[in-house]
Symmetry: C3
Subunit: 155 residues, 3 copies
Amino acid sequence: MDMTSRLVQLNAAYARAIDTEKFEDWPKLFADPCLYKVTTADNVAKGLESGIMYADSRGMLEDRVSALRKANIYERQRYRHIVGLPVVTGEAGGVATTETPFLIVRIMRDGAMAVFATGCYHDRVVADSSGALSFAERVVVCDGGRFDTLVAIPF
Amino acid sequence: MDMTSRLVQLNAAYARAIDTEKFEDWPKLFADPCLYKVTTADNVAKGLESGIMYADSRGMLEDRVSALRKANIYERQRYRHIVGLPVVTGEAGGVATTETPFLIVRIMRDGAMAVFATGCYHDRVVADSSGALSFAERVVVCDGGRFDTLVAIPF
Amino acid sequence: MDMTSRLVQLNAAYARAIDTEKFEDWPKLFADPCLYKVTTADNVAKGLESGIMYADSRGMLEDRVSALRKANIYERQRYRHIVGLPVVTGEAGGVATTETPFLIVRIMRDGAMAVFATGCYHDRVVADSSGALSFAERVVVCDGGRFDTLVAIPF
């Protein structure tokens, strides 16, 4: 299977874990250690390091999921990720550097829908010995910047 | 061609048949007999069988298209399907089980646009002797639940 | 790599050039001469030739980029293209005819987001001697029709 198809599958699995609320599947898509960060295009342009979410190990991602399960915040709304087409911008030493645009729609319990976020995933993707891909790094760069202080759901 | 690419093509052909109003091409993408159902995530979670649309043969799908042509309801607006990346969740006995997220934008005659529906296609896909894929089953699970009583356009 | 994967890459590169405001990369994705036109589904249905943008050479596309850089209009907002799945409708004499749906979200400086345009790219794609694809023709058919008189950003 070519790289584009494999990236399509990795990204599709990522969106599915979140949108079906199988959050426990989400950390498994990362290498360990890893980098997961949610930030905005404005922060990136200004060179600001601060982000909306940050984790550098699978354990931290799992902690996030546990917190999410306890808070039950996700039950108030549903999310739908529409992941665009991946671009491979580089490949070296078994690491592929890729960028993949996304759109997230939020669906409230009353059925109201709105574009919640758009942006681009900036990834470093690695393959394990079986060829399965995972994220060594996923930096989620959101186009907009109006988010709740507590964003519970992974982007 | 690998399975991901073939699923991309099947889904792209599906969206194109609807968005270009070539509705007669739509039933041809299904096996016969088949299952086509439109429902909501809430209904699925509650175990409710009732859906917004239902058909179990290509003939029923063709009847739906005939009704649509007579009603001319589709002329008042236009739809645009943005189909996301397919996930293959299983393959056995020549049947692939897949999930593919979607977003539908409705464009009114005055140019106003709004997110009409989001959701996920839950499919069972089969290949004929030439290798061409078709839907043995397409269950359209919408995230939201505010639809007109008479939804004339296929999802 | 199969045609679907190559089209995915071409379309992803196109969206990336615009959304990251690397506009100078945009003309490089076209053959020379070429046809680039932005129009609406209504205009196409009425047989009207007039469009929102028109260029028939790489030089004209480059002029457009220069004008855009001088006007600085793009700094007021950001765009995000979500490009759907490509359909190959024909292949002959080294030219692939394809259709690819798109959705463009506009993000204002204050973070407000709205669906800006949806539509379908109607393309004629050619490969150079190295196999790299480019657009001999890209006709951007927008579903809606309410655009600013001066649309500065490529679609």
